[in-house]
């Protein structure tokens, strides 16, 4: 059986095509304002990578905040369930999923792939990829540079504001005071980790902790989370596709 999972997030669209327990292909694209078009585009691109036609796919499951706009999907399932299943598929002993997306973040308590509890932050940019994006802009950096730079810091400055706008002012103020960029960045990563761990404490942190979403690629955030929880976290090879993978797994029955 061949199944496809399509995850329409706030910033990127992801698609995974799965046959049994083998990922045949996946792709990631930036979403367009027209979510239907983004869904069709990502699906067609992934089909092409897998060398398949639409007719060869037995089931399509949509997830993500734009799931309702994927009109050709057979089923729509929330990203909460899909991240839990996708993480369990890759790392079977997962106990907690921390998903850090572009405009929201969520912590999911999982047991054998089943969601026990969850908490989401979607009203505020703190603890999301958007927070890093704003800080990178304030520092004149590319988003990809942030993680590496944070690791180079010998000192970590405190960013005390939860609010992204106020935190940006703190960053600008540190720059005016002549502080090093890597120390500010390390502070930014620490602030995100602090916000996420506060959320995670509401559902309880149980091993193994799996990081998913685009921000999981940021080594600075990963290190800050590990320091706060006191043990290592696991990051799938491509953390951004975990939701789409979970959707494909659920579609495969």
């Amino acid at each position: 059986m061949i199944s496809a999972g399509i995850d329409i997030g706030s910033i990127t669209a992801k698609c995974v095509i799965l046959q049994g327990d083998k990922i045949l292909a996946y792709s990631i694209l930036r979403v367009k304002p027209n979510l239907e078009e983004s869904a069709r585009e990502i699906f067609e691109k992934t089909l092409e990578l897998a060398g398949l036609s639409k007719e060869e796919v037995d089931s399509i499951v949509a997830t993500g905040y734009g799931r309702g706009r994927v009109d050709f999907a057979n089923k729509k399932i929330t990203e909460i369930s899909c991240h839990a299943i996708g993480s369990h598929f890759l790392i079977p002993d997962v106990g907690t999923v921390i998903d850090i997306g572009g405009q929201d973040s969520k912590v999911i308590a999982v047991e054998n792939g089943k969601v026990l509890d969850f908490v989401m932050n979607d009203k505020c940019a703190a603890g999301t990829g958007r927070f890093i994006e704003v800080m990178a802009n304030a520092l004149g950096l590319k988003i990809e540079q942030i993680g590496e730079l944070a690791l180079r810091a010998t000192e970590r400055l405190k960013i005390s504001s939860t609010c992204t706008v106020f935190a940006e002012s703190e960053v600008v103020s540190y720059l005016s005071a002549g502080k090093k960029v890597e120390e500010i960045i390390a502070g930014v990563c620490d602030a995100i980790a602090g916000r996420l761990i506060a959320m995670a404490s509401r559902v309880g942190i149980r091993r193994e902790v799996v990081l998913t979403g685009g921000v999981a690629k940021n080594l600075g955030v990963r290190r800050a989370i590990e320091e706060k929880i006191g043990f290592g976290v696991k990051v799938p090879p491509e953390p951004q596709i975990v939701g789409a993978l979970g959707a494909a797994v659920l579609g495969s029955g």
Binding site: Y65, G68, I80, S81, K123
Partner: protein
């Protein structure tokens, strides 16, 4: 003439019997603009939205009853903004009927000063009409919890409200029984939020000020024989209405009430207005009690006016998937 009120503990029967139109003030779909000149953005959006209404719409006066700290201080802000306001000191600790009876007698005098005469006959008639409305709503909710109607009846003449509930009852179709969610919280004057639960496949039961807490009472058993008797009837009626976290009760009446409601539900959603202190203070302990019963619990925070519903939809659908 409209007399605005905010809390379900307000004795609307007395306002109506004096010839005024009691009108429950809620936040609306309008953005909060004028109110920001008087109240901080970290106050709950029901208080801010109600002030916005008071500043934009036409009311003769406003009646407050002591409940949460924010609404109490809102009384001062309404006065500061030049509104005609009266505050009834509803006892925070439920029990002393004699004290509250004196408060109600003072209120009758205030209404007289406003040009409204309360007689024994008019008050008994008002009590009868509101009881008919409350029992009608109870019947309607036992078939289909219709929040749009429950909200609307609080803003129209009670006689029209009774007719509306009767009409709705005739066409109401029984909601399927399972899976059932208990929604607990203060106010949610946006019917579209309840639709999200139904669209996710839930049937609904509630413990909300915009739902069953408006019409769930244990009525006194005596028949009033004079005006004082009728006021005593009202005092006792409101002492034994569905409990609210802004009040202190003998024993644990509030928790026992919510736990009892949750018994036949598969999940409980705390639908809380951001910065609603009384509900948030109860949340951790109540959540833990409900989880001990094996209920799945979720917290959804609202800010009025509710503009973005998709994030709320995700939380509700995820909860539905969790209990599958």
């Amino acid at each position: 003439m409209k007399v605005g009120y905010l809390c379900t503990f307000t004795p609307k029967e007395i306002i109506y019997s004096a010839g005024f139109q009691p009108f429950r003030v809620f936040a609306t779909e309008r953005p909060i603009e004028l109110a920001s000149a008087y109240i901080q953005s970290y106050s709950c959006s029901q208080a801010r939205g109600a002030l916005e209404c008071a500043l934009k719409d036409d009311f003769y006066a406003f009646v407050f009853t002591r409940c949460c700290d924010t609404l109490m201080r809102l009384t001062d802000i309404f006065e500061f903004a030049g509104k005609r306001v009266y505050n009834i000191e509803f006892p925070t600790k439920i029990g002393n009927v004699e004290y509250y009876l004196r408060e109600l007698k003072d209120f009758v005098e205030v209404l007289r000063d406003w040009g409204g005469e309360v007689s024994f006959e008019s008050l008994v008639e008002s009590l009868k009409l509101y009881r008919e409305l409350e029992e009608g709503l109870k019947q309607l909710f036992s078939v289909f919890p219709d929040y749009e109607t429950a909200i609307k009846v609080q803003q129209i003449d009670v006689k029209d409200a009774i007719k509306l509930v009767d009409e709705k009852l005739k066409s109401a179709k029984k909601e399927k029984e399972s899976p059932k969610v208990l929604i607990t919280g203060s106010v949610c004057p946006y019917p579209k939020i309840y639709d999200l639960f139904r669209e996710a496949g839930f049937s609904i039961k509630d413990d909300l000020c915009t739902g069953s807490r408006f019409f769930e009472y244990i009525y006194p058993t005596f028949e009033p024989e004079d005006l004082e008797g009728a006021l005593r009837f009202i005092a006792e009626k409101y002492f034994y209405k569905s409990p609210c976290p802004t009040k202190h009760y003998e024993s644990d009446r509030r928790f026992e009430y919510v736990i009892k409601l949750a018994e036949d539900c598969d999940a409980v959603v705390f639908l809380l207005v951001k910065f609603c202190e009384p509900h948030f203070f109860d949340y951790p302990q109540l959540k833990s009690e409900l989880e001990k019963m094996g209920k799945k619990v979720a917290l959804i925070e609202l800010e009025f006016p509710v503009v973005s519903t998709e994030q709320i939809r995700t939380r509700i659908e995820a909860l539905r998937e969790v209990i599958l």
